[in-house]
Amino acid sequence: MIGALLELDRVSMTYTRGGLLSRTRVEAVIDVSFRLEAAKPEIFSIIGESGSGKSTLARIVLALQAPTQGAVRFKGKDLAQMRGDVERHAFMAAVQPVFQNPFEVFNPLKRLDRYLYATCKRFAGAQGETAVQAAADTALRQVGLSLAEVRGRYPHELSGGQLQRVAIARALASGPSLLIADEPVSMVDASLRASIVNLFRKLRDELGLSIVYITHDLATAYSISDRIIIMQKGRVVESGAARTVLANPQHPYSKTLKDAVLEPLAPGARPLFAR
């Protein structure tokens, strides 16, 4: 097949920690391969607990770290071959991150619009004040906000849900084809979580955006993703279509993980830790 958007080919990441005498090797990611097709936008979930290597994988895909083994190819181009600011900028325009903590994503001392404007100017090629503002407004409208609501505001003036929307809008402003969302809803209040999750689905369907959704939360992964991989201690233990895998996990670890999910009770069901 041709036309992979993102392809990970046997990627491993090993850190060495410690000083000269007591070096320890930490294998954060071991032999992970997957590919996202350019023609078929999807939400691809990487599920794992802390220490599963899922965040390291996110950093590798964002080219913030080079893997110690294997190759990451974006639109057929090996990230290790990326040279110079121009290529790096082109890559950043196409692959954008959404981070975990909406209260930390923006500098608390700076206005929010600044980041939107910078992204529009540097990546979307918007020139002049009006063009930049129009581009920022377009991005914000895609997440259900508008520039009028955000212009001149500081991060502490908005709720976590709104901030996460602004963060997503900022990522969209560069016109990316891939979003890397690392635990984007885990710090967002439950009542606002559903709307963020729905937003991802809308971006996939309407903008044709592929999203790598990294989470420990099986329930939200089930509700939005097309395909998932489940990671344990750096290895992929199970992968496949989200509904199939999560409805009927095969690997013992996946089963344990699913059993540990505490879901609200169906009427009449017995709580796990009843009196």
């Binding site: 500098n107 700076k110 540097r122």
Partner: protein, 288 residues
Amino acid sequence: MFVVLRDLLRYNGEFLAGILLTGIVVVMALLSFFSPYPPMDQFVAPMDVPPSAAHWFGTTSRGQDLFWLLTYSIRNTLAFGLLVAILSRILSLSIGLLAGYRGGWVDRVLMSINDTFIVIPLFPILVLFYFVMRDNMSWVMLAVLTASLGWSYDARLIRSVALSLRHREFTQTAVFSGMRTHEILSKEHLPFVLPIVFSTSLNNMNWSIGLEVTLAVLGFTDINRPSVGGMIYWANQHSAVVAGIWWWIAFPVGLVVMLFIGLYLLAVSMNEYIDPRSRLERGGGRKE
């Protein structure tokens, strides 16, 4: 900014005292522009007159009016302190922020240079420079030298803040918004260290003025340019204390001590403003 100033004045006694003391010294320095005597002219006033209505601070054995001479001296001394503070802030900010943000080998190289400067004994070096340069040693040169020896502690402090800023998510956001390194340093990280820069620059001024006064008293600076230390140097040359001309020593010393205390109080109250915990205890939230 005005609100902050107003509130500091209203609620913080140290700040008020600091402003008053420093203010008096600054006014003194500004008065030099209205001096009836050129600074270096000698024997324009009667010699050795004690403080009186005609000569408020008395006159020197060299026939200078002490009050007006002091206005020039304190102006020069202040200018020296300011110049050193500004130059050394530029150094410590750019080195500290860059080392903290880039990390890795950049950090290691910059910090090993930094640590070298921390351990260099600066007083002997300044004296050595004076002996090498002699008459070519202008006050600007001395300021540049002092600044290049006085940035290292604060650079380390700034680096430690920048180091923690580097790992915060908004730095990544800035990177992925296409901002360049210098933009991230100057727009994103600088505001976080500015409060530290303010309070350390006041301390730095104190430090450099102290150094200059010491060098001048010992005669290791340009003695023909009026400065507080230089005045004391000349007073010693004329055995002012033995001769009972106490005012020649007392007024310069008094004024420079006032400046020290004023700057110190400002630095302390700035520090308190920067640290919100101590601010809370003072400003609001009384206990039941």
